[in-house]
């Protein structure tokens, strides 16, 4: 059974064809990346999966159930951290729990369990603007995880970070991914990032976006910095580059 299935989804905004017959699948505990040029409609696809947008054609299945146009099932993390500046980090990550009906105290107890894993220990009472970009993204990821811990949509979460922080965050995400038992759909336009993190990569074409090719990444986990220079990595990178 697939966690998420997108079947023949098309979407246009007025004259602008954004998605053209896109289909993809995400299995349980899988890390799947959607790789495509900027402005190719990747975020539109995520908006459709999360239920914020309704596709013109096609359907979204989550655990074999039709979820087209229904919000509140999968969690969605944006390139911007989108933390609320008026709430401290603990209150921020508790937000989805509060919306789900947890009491403030229960939510805090649940959230605090994860602060160490997410490298946020000691910063519970800080406001977002007192934290570095990397920490804010980790807090944002924790909030995403607490909302829906089985299916997470990550939309270029490291896109706004500098190269060094980005590399550290990628490694950290891989480590956390082993612990979290989540299924992740990940958007990026960075080929290295796509191969390094994923089990499977979908390559999208330019607008209107359609699936150009899919690659299974058979590089053993756990992966490390050496992965970036190994043979399989470079071969796959070459294949993808040829395609784009």
């Amino acid at each position: 059974m697939y966690k998420v299935e997108i079947n023949n989804v098309s979407k246009s905004f007025g004259q602008l064809n954004t998605l053209d017959d896109v289909s993809l699948e995400l299995k349980e505990n899988q890390f799947v990346t959607i790789l495509g040029p900027s402005g190719s409609g990747k975020s539109t696809l995520f908006n459709i999966i999360s239920g914020l947008l309704i596709p013109d054609k096609g359907e979204v299945l989550i655990e074999s159930e039709v979820y087209t146009g229904r919000t509140g099932r999968v969690s969605y993390m944006h390139q911007k951290d989108l933390l609320l500046p008026w709430k401290n980090i603990l209150e921020n990550v508790c937000l989805p729990l509060n919306l789900k009906g947890y009491s403030i105290k229960e939510a805090k107890i649940k959230a605090l369990n994860y602060f160490k894993l997410f490298g946020l220990e000691g910063f519970e009472k800080n406001y977002p603007n007192q934290l570095s970009g990397g920490m804010r993204q980790r807090a944002s990821l924790l909030r995403t995880y607490l909302f829906s811990n089985d299916i997470m949509l990550l939309d270029e979460p490291f896109g706004g970070l500098d190269a060094i922080t980005k590399r550290t965050m990628q490694q950290w995400l891989l480590e956390v991914f082993e612990d979290l038992k989540a299924s992740i759909l990940f958007i990026t336009h960075d080929i290295d990032e796509a191969i390094f993190l994923s089990d499977k990569v979908y390559v999208l074409s330019e607008r209107p976006a359609s699936v150009k090719a899919e690659f299974e990444v058979n590089i053993a986990r756990p992966r490390s910095l050496d992965t970036f220079t190994c043979k399989e990595f470079n071969e796959m990178k070459k294949d993808i580059l040829d395609l784009l």
Binding site: Y76, L82, L84, K87
Partner: protein, 262 residues
Amino acid sequence: MKKSGSIENKLIPISFFTILIFIWELVARLELVPAYILPGPIRIIKTLFMNLPVLKEHIIVTSLEAIAGFVISAIFAIAICLLMDSITIVKKAIYPLIIVSQTIPIITIAPLFAIWFGFGYLPKVVIVVLVCFFPITISLLEGLSSVDEDLLNLIKSMGANKIQTYKMVKLPAAMPSFFSGLKIAGTYSIMGATIGEWVGGKRGLGVYMLRVKHSFATDKVFATIIVITLLSILLLKVIGIIERKSMPWIYKQELENTEEYK
């Protein structure tokens, strides 16, 4: 570096201001201008303190009118803004009306309120409400509509309903802009009350001002102007304190920054 810079920033305007006051005092002392036209600053301050017992009653009346009007106005503004922001058709109907209403100079309709509401406190409060309403409404409305669309989508994707969206995102996000509106309204409120009192009444700084004007006690007119100015500043400060208390996330960041500069 930064510290000496900030001292310089304060020192220059203060010394310039002192020089101006000094020239003013000199002009008065040398009797270049007669005292009933321009009394010197020292004389004005003396008059102010000597008249304080009389002024006290008027200060209280004017302040109460201003504060009452200000609070009522803020409550109205919040209610209207929430309506306009959540229901598009209400915004389309009311918003142009609010903008157009601002072209009517309030001072020209003040006599009308005297006819309708008499010479008690009510017409003054109504004027203050009208004067304060516009800046609060416009700034709050702008604050509510300037919330990051992605943030709203995020909280929507988490299944938040309309009330939760306002409580958790929209209202806090609109706070800074709301407070800048409150500050403008605060300075207007004392002025509004004074204008209301000019049209007619028994007590208040506006009434007192007219009375001393008729007897050509120019030093007392100046003393009243100082009192009105100080009241406006005081109100501004109070709003500023409330602002800091209600937005600790901005205040905390400031603290952090000043520590960094040390």
